[in-house]
């Protein structure tokens, strides 16, 4: 198999820059984790809705889809695609359908991992 080095370079730089932007927000405003996730998710939804995200993703590859922006974008894309194919019903079905894999994986592993392991945060602090 062939790996395109340029894909990795662009992913690294763009993904890194998005994280650096988040880091600046964290330091300057003491924003909480939940808020920062919601903020970037909303950016992704807006970018997808106005049609910018597909171009951004073509350019940045995983640098666009791994940050939570990509999660928001696929939610919005699912809902918009649903609207195209089955109207109002699709609007409500499409978003979660497109992201079902990620959400189900997160819930399943969180449950299993929580059953197996005990919290270690105490030892860290």
């Amino acid at each position: 198999m062939e790996l395109n080095i340029l894909d990795y370079l662009v992913s690294f730089v763009v993904g890194g820059l998005i994280c650096a932007l988040g880091q600046i927000l964290v330091v300057r405003t003491n924003i909480t984790t939940a808020r920062i996730l919601v903020l970037f998710l909303t950016i992704g939804i807006i970018l997808q809705t106005i049609g910018v995200y597909p171009y951004f993703k073509d350019f940045a590859k995983a640098g666009a889809s791994v940050p939570i922006i990509g999660f928001g974008a696929s939610l919005a894309k699912g809902a918009i695609d649903g609207a195209k194919t089955s109207g109002i019903l699709g609007v409500f079905q499409g978003g979660l359908e497109a992201t079902a894999g990620g959400i189900a994986t997160a819930i399943f592993f969180a449950f299993i991992i929580a059953l197996i392991f005990n919290s270690k945060t105490k030892h860290l602090k």
Partner: protein, 148 residues
């Protein structure tokens, strides 16, 4: 000593004691770790594209995200992700790893309150807003598309 002067003294004392946040260093760490996580994502994407050539682009992306979420969950369980998070700051929060970690961490932490009231109830105590805002936003996006 009047209270104003005392406050002033206390403020200078606090300022001397509080560690100076190494702004640029933290920024660089977030950049490098965040970028590396995205590269890992790209690697899984390429691997899946090579192994399963029949999958569509969206399916490949979904499989790649699921893989990263699963790895993050296991690393969180082993306690390794806490170290990555402490090192990288936003570099581990903004990628999908932050979403996965914010679901697994509270589940583990509240395990002692029981399976239903601990794990199941607290699972979305941090990531809940992400799902809520995401679903509301996506429905709005779909409605906007229908109207326009």
């Amino acid at each position: 000593m009047d209270s104003e002067k005392r406050n002033q003294n206390y403020n200078t004392y606090v300022e001397a004691k509080v560690p100076k946040t190494k702004f640029w260093q933290a920024l660089l760490k977030a950049f490098v770790v965040g970028g590396l996580i995205c590269c890992v994502g790209q690697l899984f994407y390429d691997l899946y594209a090579y192994w399963f050539p029949t999958l569509s682009e969206a399916q490949l992306g979904s499989a790649m995200l699921s893989t990263i979420i699963a790895i993050t969950a296991i690393l969180t369980g082993l306690g390794i992700f806490d170290w990555i998070g402490a090192f990288a700051g936003a570099g581990s929060v903004i990628p999908i790893t932050g979403f996965a970690n914010s679901i697994v961490s509270p589940s583990m932490e509240f395990k002692k309150e029981g399976i239903i009231f601990g794990i199941c109830v607290k699972m979305f105590s941090i990531a809940g807003p992400v799902i809520v805002c995401g679903v509301v936003g996506s429905v709005l996006a779909g409605l906007i598309y229908l109207i326009i």
